[in-house]
């Protein structure tokens, strides 16, 4: 049994926690599934590996009955990004720090399904093996071994805080900020294109959106009781999945995430049609960094960027 399983078992058996949210094995080789652990037997099924891509913090706000009513204190297994989402919730007064028990796990990145798809040219993976830094994918007529790094999510490759900085318990030794190169490369490359090219790309990409709202619903930072797209009095946006309304949905979501996106990549991995949802979120993140020197979810005592004002802030967007 792993140390993580043991600790969760202990926390449940001594009644410190009555619910722990973690990951368990999924029904397919490259997929894990969120798990609601209430018993010692459940605790034995907990896993943590590069398939654990869901941001579990999202469950704290998705079902408001859960916290405070059904459970006094909830434990969550957290990667760096999950922990940042919890910090964000605390700064936004959605969750009290003492309501959650954070169990940090050392994260070395999670797998992005699109990269697997590209690698196997769409063929189904029936078995995976991760040994050290390498991953082996097996299907009916192929076997491919590549460095794990090659199939990790872009969010992970540009992540400076892979381990939780806010935690109650950490399995192993947490790393503080790690150095990454080209954190905003995806934005820089995109900005280097002409405005026509950028517009064409956005139009093509978002025209494929089917408006299933998986991106919004897995997003830990999207927790409005009623999203603007669901309001019908007034109706802000056409419900038709046509490119103009799709773009309005995505761009407004991008702006609503200003100073709030932790770049966990949950939206990217949730999208059933594999839209590139990261580029615009990262652009907004870059703006927040440059203008306000603000990165979401790092400091539990900091006010949210959009709820505070400093006199020395750059105001060139107003003053011209």
């Amino acid at each position: 049994m792993t140390e993580l399983q043991n600790k969760i078992k202990e926390l449940i058996s001594n009644k410190t926690l009555d619910l722990v949210i973690g990951w368990g094995n999924g029904s397919m080789p490259l997929v894990s599934t969120p798990m609601f652990i209430k018993s010692e037997a459940d605790a034995e099924k907990v896993i943590f590996d590069p398939t654990c891509r869901n941001n579990l913090a999202t469950y704290l706000t998705k079902d408001k009955r859960r916290l405070g009513k059904d459970y006094e204190k909830i434990g969550i297994v957290v990667k760096g990004c999950d922990a940042r989402s919890v910090v964000l919730y605390v700064t936004e007064n959605q969750v009290r720090r003492d309501q959650v028990f954070l169990i940090g796990v050392p994260c070395h990145g999670v797998i992005e399904k699109k990269k697997i798809f590209d690698l196997t040219e769409g063929r189904e993976v029936l078995e995976k093996k991760i040994i050290g830094e390498k991953i082996t994918l097996k299907g009916r007529e192929f076997e491919i071994t590549v460095p794990l790094h090659d199939v990790l999510s872009d969010s992970c490759l540009g992540c400076r805080y892979p381990d939780a900085r806010e935690f109650d318990l950490f399995i192993g030794e947490p790393r503080d900020e790690v150095e990454v190169k080209g954190e905003f490369k995806v934005v820089d490359d995109f900005e280097a294109k002409s405005s026509e090219e950028r517009w064409d790309y956005i139009k093509d990409e978002y025209s494929r959106c089917i408006r299933c709202y998986a991106c919004r619903n897995v997003c830990p930072s999207c927790y409005c009781n009623e999203c603007f797209v669901d309001q019908n009095d007034p109706q802000w946006i056409g419900k038709t999945p046509e490119v103009t309304d799709n773009i309005i949905f995505h761009l407004i979501r991008n702006l609503h995430l200003a100073g709030r996106c932790v770049d966990c990549g949950a939206c990217v991995s949730a999208c059933p049609v594999n839209l590139n949802l990261r580029i615009m979120n990262k652009k907004v993140e870059k703006e927040m960094k440059e203008r306000f020197d603000y990165t979401a979810g790092l400091d539990i005592n900091e006010k949210p960027a959009m709820a505070t004002y400093c006199e020395n802030e750059k105001q060139d967007f107003i003053m011209g």
């Binding site: 599934t33 998705k62 079902d63 798809f117 059933p272 049609v273």
Partner: protein, 348 residues
């Protein structure tokens, strides 16, 4: 049974185009979707299942029901030719037949003539469904739970198997037989061909996971409506509509008026029981207020309510929802969990 050399596919598509608009799996970004094709070169044969099911050919994601302006109301022009679908899978073909029951053939209703959907019927009535056998089923396929399989011909007009050098074709309906008879390049199959077909089918069948017996599912569901089991099943659902939107049998829709000034249109759009807004009432009350209620609705509709009305499941085991679910809600596991569940007797 007929066959033609695989190199004659372009000609066959052209032949179909004389009578039909031909739809086939086409690459769209990283995904594959059914789209109208002008040439066979657009067909994407690399994937077993399209990401979005072919239902959108007859039941589009958004469909203008009518437009209005100062001169009055106009209905949009009808499709000039019926649709022929190349590259359907058995699960999707059966799904289209199920949807046709809903939209055009609500035979179980006492007022049956009231429930005929002209928009569906116009697009569907003369369509040609060409099912291609699945030679390489996915691990997520579970059509065999529904007495089907990779070589199931049910519901097809024409059934096709892609062999080493030939396409083998079988006309199932009179319409399908007539279409095949009119194509010059076909020849009759010989004993050797039958051998190849048998081998292909046995390989495909061997790839399928063993089926689960669904004999008790409907009755079991009828007994567990208020069982705490649903809390367990529904807890991790995040209530997006990905499963319903990729599903070939989900067919709930919303109607929306989009207008400005004196002009506008009424549109029918896909909707999903997974959304919070789906059952929200004007008063603000929501009878299905949380994810657990909504997941129960989805499962009950597919495997219980629908069986009451149509004597069949509203699911054909295509496995798309299994693949796309962001939190790995695997409908196969949910069904097994329900079947294995022991109902606790209530004290009364």
């Amino acid at each position: 049974m007929y066959k033609f050399k695989r190199i004659y596919l372009p000609e066959f598509i052209e032949y179909l185009q004389k009578t039909y608009f031909v739809f086939a799996p086409v690459k769209s970004g990283t995904e594959t979707e059914f789209k109208q094709i002008t040439s066979f070169t657009e067909i994407d044969q690399s994937r077993l299942n399209t990401t979005i099911s072919p239902k959108e050919i007859f039941f589009p994601r958004s469909e203008v029901l009518f437009t209005y302006d100062e001169d009055g109301i106009k209905t949009p022009p009808k499709r000039e030719k019926p649709a022929a679908l190349w590259g359907m899978r058995a699960c999707d073909t059966r799904s289209m037949r199920i949807l046709n029951d809903v939209f055009a053939n609500a035979h179980q209703m006492p007022e049956k003539d009231m429930f005929k959907d002209p928009y569906w019927i116009d697009k569907y009535k003369d369509c040609l469904l060409i099912t291609e056998a699945c030679l390489n089923p996915l691990s997520t396929c579970f059509c065999n739970w529904f007495s089907s399989g990779p070589f199931d011909e049910t519901g097809s007009d024409i059934f096709v198997v892609k062999g080493e050098v030939d396409y083998y074709l079988k006309g199932i309906t009179p319409k399908g037989k007539e279409v095949l008879a009119g194509f010059e390049k076909t020849e009759k199959t010989i004993a050797k061909d039958e051998e190849e077909l048998k081998v292909l089918q046995s390989i495909a069948d061997s790839y399928m996971n063993p089926p689960t017996d669904l004999g008790d599912l409907k009755d079991k569901l009828g007994k567990i409506w208020d069982d705490p089991l649903w809390d367990e099943i529904g807890a991790k659902c995040i209530n997006c509509g990905a499963c319903a939107y990729v599903c070939p049998t989900c067919h709930c829709f919303d109607v929306s008026d989009e207008g400005k000034g004196n002009k506008g249109k009424r549109v029918r759009l896909w909707d999903a029981c997974m959304f919070q807004l789906f059952t929200k009432e004007a008063s603000g009350h929501n009878p299905r207020s949380n994810s657990i209620h909504r997941v129960r609705q989805r499962i009950m509709h597919k495997y219980n309510y629908f069986v009451d009305n149509y004597q069949k499941f509203l699911c054909t085991g295509c496995g798309r929802c299994v693949t796309v679910c962001p939190v790995n809600m695997d409908i196969r596991e949910i069904i097994k969990q329900i079947l294995d569940h022991k109902i606790e007797k209530k004290d009364k």
